[in-house]
């Protein structure tokens, strides 16, 4: 099979770990609606055009909150993305002298702000995950208890391995030691059932454009009532009094200064409404595809799969390395010759690759999701088999 031209009809898209594509029914229409019908500046004016836009965002917030198990919609803010949200949480909470315990699998959305905080005098202690990419709760507990810890920060699921971290246990550990649990949920939302009322996270952030199937440029941040980071950005909020010299403390406006991404939020509302009806079915489908891909790759010469062993729980990410062919060569050939979109490199997660021993060469990541089929996986496996024959 030769795919010399990239086109939506022939593309086999396996980079859902970065951005989901295509979008489910209703998302494009909702985004368009945010540019046409519900396109006023929300949360400010009281004329009917603005009120209708405000109500649509209010409704999207309610739908997202319900999907994620957030009881009080005040605690859910819309953010430009998960990276911005995790920066808000980390930079807004931690001050010089604080101690934070992090998992070694963190994405740069967490690692870089932590590195910046370390340079300002925050003590950052990193706990290594095991070879499956999972952090050991007992080890975290020992490290947390070894000092006065302000927060534990951990991904919900790994963007390199797909491994699922023991978040409820980490919540118990953090709270028993007077610390907060801050969770990067970028790879979990949509792919795992998430009930934030029971998870144990004091803060949980997620991209809108990955497993939640929404557009790029929007994410969500849940903050438990007891978790009050300082806002990263101050400015217009519409509510309270414009005469206040400082950012009002009322949620969610405190964390939403400036005009929101209305088309993105409405698109996310539509995707979450879709997921509310189809998430379970989609997760089962993803699990079947992951197993097919994982099993098939293990049958191929020279490949190994990073992260959890076959059959162990993971979100639909399967990253592989070959003992003789570099990930970048494989990714290029897959795209240009077979129309398979997959991502080689470090996946913005050098900590994770260092933990896994792949930081020098990186890995080839397949992120499965909405729209993928068993035939897609079969094509990838056949392509890899051919490439191994040709390139070794």
């Amino acid at each position: 099979m030769a795919a010399t031209v990239d086109s939506p009809e022939t593309r086999i898209y396996l980079d859902h770990g970065a951005t989901s594509w295509p979008k489910p029914p209703g998302v494009i229409e909702a985004v368009a609606n945010g540019l046409t019908v519900l396109a006023a500046n929300p949360g400010r004016g009281a004329y009917r055009f603005a009120l209708d836009t405000s109500r649509a965002i209010h409704s999207a917030r309610r739908d997202v909150a319900t999907f994620l198990g957030v009881a009080d919609t005040h605690d859910l803010s819309f953010q430009p993305g998960c990276t911005q949200a995790m920066n808000l949480v980390l930079l807004g909470l931690l001050v010089p002298g604080d101690r934070v315990v992090a998992c070694s699998m963190e994405h740069n959305a967490v690692a870089r702000p932590l590195n910046a905080l370390a340079a300002r005098g925050v003590e950052v202690v990193v706990v290594d995950a095991d070879e499956a990419g999972v952090v050991d709760a007992d080890e975290v507990e020992a490290v947390v208890a070894a000092g006065r810890t302000r927060a534990v920060v951990c991904q919900h699921a790994g963007n390199v391995t797909g491994a699922i971290q023991p978040i409820p246990d980490l919540g118990d550990i953090a709270h028993a030691n007077g610390a907060l649990l801050l969770v990067d949920g970028a790879q979990a939302g949509g792919h795992l059932p998430v009930d934030l009322g029971r998870l144990g996270a004091d803060a949980w952030a997620c991209s809108g454009h990955k497993g939640l199937l929404g557009p790029q440029g929007v994410g969500v941040l849940y903050l438990a009532p007891t978790c009050e980071p300082a806002e990263l950005v101050s400015g217009g909020t519409g509510g309270g009094s414009s005469e206040d010299p400082l950012q009002p403390l009322a949620r969610p406006e405190r964390y939403e200064a400036g005009t929101p991404n209305t088309p993105g939020i409405l698109g996310l509302g539509a995707s979450v409404r879709f997921l509310s009806e189809h998430a379970e079915e989609l997760r089962s489908h993803e699990a079947v595809l992951v197993r097919q891909l994982h099993e098939g790759i293990l049958d191929l010469d020279g490949f190994s799969v990073l992260g959890p062993s076959l059959g162990a729980p993971r979100v639909p990410i399967v990253s592989v390395v070959h003992d003789r062919i570099s990930a970048d060569r494989l990714a290029f050939a897959l795209d240009r010759r077979y129309g398979v979109a997959a991502r080689a490199g470090l996946h913005c997660a050098p900590w994770a690759h260092r933990t896994l021993g792949t930081v020098d060469a990186g890995a080839l990541r397949f992120g499965l999701g909405y729209g993928n089929t068993p035939d897609d996986v079969g094509t990838v496996l056949n392509a890899l088999r051919e490439l191994v024959g040709e390139l070794t």
């Binding site: 400010r44 919609t73 509510g239 009094s241 009002p248």
Partner: protein, 81 residues
């Protein structure tokens, strides 16, 4: 041209537009004649959304919002047509 008679309305102000929209939804659900209006200076805010309703419904509105856990930041009155 007929002259419309001004009526007196109760005005409710909220700490955030989020609360104002929650309150609108709750009061509509309770069957009250609530209408969003630009927040008047008399409730202490210069921008945002307030809710107006007939003054005889103010007591019911307070009860409804208290039951829903929505705080009223300020109340006032306004004459409108």
């Amino acid at each position: 041209m007929s002259v419309r008679q001004a009526r007196l309305f109760a005005v409710l102000g909220f700490g955030s537009t989020h609360d104002a929209l929650d309150a609108e939804s709750a009061l509509q659900g309770a069957g009250l004649e609530v209408l969003p209006i630009p927040a008047p200076k008399s409730i202490g805010a210069l921008c945002g959304i307030a809710l107006r309703l007939p003054p005889e419904q103010l007591h019911s509105a307070r009860d409804c919002l208290a039951a829903e856990g929505i705080s009223i930041a300020a109340t006032s009155e306004i004459e409108d047509v």
